[in-house]
Amino acid sequence: MADYTDKEMMALCAGRLVPNGAVLFAGTGLSMLAATVAKRIHAPESVVFFETGGIDPALDELPLAVADPRVMSGSAMNAGLIEAFSILGHRRLSTIAFLGAAQIDPYGNLNSTALGDYRHPKVRFPGSGGACDAASLAWGVIIFMQHEKKRFVPKVDYLTSPGWLDGGDSRQKAGFKRGGPLAVVTNLGILKFHPETKHMYLAEVYPGVSVEEVQEKTGFELDVSQAVETPAPNEQELRILREEVDPQRLILGPAA
């Protein structure tokens, strides 16, 4: 069986979560790989769009930013931010957004703004961009995280993007009509959210990863009792990802 990197595994696992026909709000990096690989393997009718206004572009080459001219070529429509956000929150569309963050809490709330005090931050990140909007308005959200204790925290320093807020029905009570995080895909496994409490639990661990390692690298208590092992990537998945989706390894980075 072929060796593979964490990034390859994450892209493929997120891709597997994409239902055919989904309308995907993609960012750059891993989300681009996940969306593209899903489209080429099991979800050919899914459509990718970008907050910048590129709707269903050909994506013959990987864009390195959501404003990359590669999201403007062969598209169904080149619009702007306003139109893109109208699609993101559209009642009739099952939009799924991919998001990453610097911190995540047990309810899938994300921080991509700053560490420390907001007005005197220790570390400043780029900010919400469209992440807060996707987390507020999309039908569902899939989150990418590096699995580290400092990133999986009981409380985020700044709540940029709303997940399940305080759990239970707090998201609905806050005034959101739909949405919420579906899964967190990390370099160790896949986490999901309890249907009632909305607290994060471990759903899958990757081959060769122990549930103990996951718990150790998570800054809060995790229910790991339902964790199963994720199937390893197959040859077809790896071939498509490496040869068709990112042949220059622009996002995948160094090979295994």
Binding site: G29, E51, T52, G53, G54, D60, E61, P63, L64, A65, V66, A67, D68, P69, R70, V71, M72, S73, G74, N78, A79, G80, L81, I82, F85, L88, G89, T113, A114, Y118, R119, P121, K122, V123, R124, F125, P126, G127, S128, G129, G130, A131, C132, D133, S136, L137, Y158, L159, T160, S161, P162, L165, A174, G175, F176, K177, Q248, R249, L250, I251
Partner: protein, 321 residues
């Protein structure tokens, strides 16, 4: 209507329409269509205390911040895609407390520009409820309501058309003093055409008191009016037109050129340290009389490599590692 009195150099346009302390909005998005020739000129003229209002801004914003032109900023995102997940000089300035900063989301900023463009007093959305974007102010209470600083960052209230308790976020409209855009074409009648994504450029332009457009090409009125469906702004909304081929370099301009990966990587590296960043400014901006001199210093082979394919609109196969 024609370009008489409107066609000018970047130097003239910035002298006439941009002042220290102005609230400024930049067209483009991260690494596409940044109005670089205008931004170089602002830096060269040493403008100070600009109040930037941005959705997702990249290279132009980072240079302005790094060169010390910016005192205050509202922003949703400061990054450059894979070339700088967080803009380097922006991060440094925020961490050092050199900037008065307030965060919104991209949709919120787009709506605020849109509301400003439409002359609406405010705009209501559900995005951001219960987040720190709604809960935390960035600007200090003493600055509230002064100049262009909104008296409230935003307000949360009940939606009068829904069941009680259904909350909405009210956002103040944005009307910048000046918006700077880079477009592909401007007609001799002042009509602006943007190719590919327009981002929030049109809202930013329609919301502003003054608009400067730099462009790759100036084309005859007859040509640009042959297909009015493709045009973005009428001439009467534009104050100054600057003919600036390659005026978005090192960011991309769809159908004209791709972003310049080598230059952006080099910038990402030198921006990390004050000395090397200062040397960058000295060589590429202060050391140039105008943007043409900047372009002349670039490697012609690199410019050749980023030339856009006429069908795809970018440079296929460009080495972007």
């Amino acid at each position: 209507m024609d370009l008489t009195g409107k066609l000018m150099t970047a130097k003239q346009a910035v002298e006439k329409f941009v002042h220290s302390g102005d609230q400024v909005s930049l067209g483009g998005f991260t690494l596409s269509r940044n109005p670089m020739s205008l931004v170089h000129e602002i830096i060269r003229q040493g403008l100070k205390d600009l109040y930037l209002v941005c959705h997702s801004q990249g290279q132009a914003m980072d240079l302005l911040v790094g060169a010390g032109c910016v005192g205050r900023m509202e922003i949703a995102y400061g990054g450059l895609g894979r070339f700088a997940p967080t803009c380097v000089r922006f991060r440094r300035a925020v961490q050092q407390g050199d900037l008065s900063l307030e965060d919104y989301s991209n949709y919120q900023m787009s709506l605020r520009f849109w509301a400003g463009a439409m002359g609406l007093p405010m705009i209501a959305t559900k995005t951001g409820l219960n987040t720190d974007i709604v809960k935390k102010d960035g600007f200090s209470p003493e600055d509230r309501g002064k100049g262009k600083v909104p008296g409230l960052k935003l307000a949360v209230q009940d939606n009068p058309f829904a069941e009680p308790g259904d909350k909405v976020v009210l956002l103040p409209a944005l009307n910048p003093d000046v918006t700077l855009l880079h477009a592909q074409q401007v007609g001799t009648d002042g009509t602006v055409r943007i190719k590919g994504l327009s981002f929030a450029d049109l809202e930013q332009a329609r919301a502003a008191d003054r608009v400067i457009v730099s462009c790759e090409e100036i084309v005859p009125k007859e040509q640009i009016r042959q297909d009015p469906d493709q045009n973005a702004l009428p001439g009467f909304l534009v104050d100054a037109v600057v003919h600036a081929p390659l005026g978005a370099h090192p960011t991309a301009c769809h159908y004209f050129y791709d972003y310049d990966p080598q230059h952006l990587k080099m910038y990402g590296k030198v921006a990390k340290e004050n000395e090397s960043f200062q040397a960058y400014l000295d060589k590429w901006i202060y050391g140039c009389r105008d943007f043409e001199e900047y372009l002349a210093k670039l490697d012609p082979a690199a410019l050749e490599r980023i030339k856009a394919d006429p069908v795809l609109g970018y440079a296929p196969g460009l080495d972007r590692r």
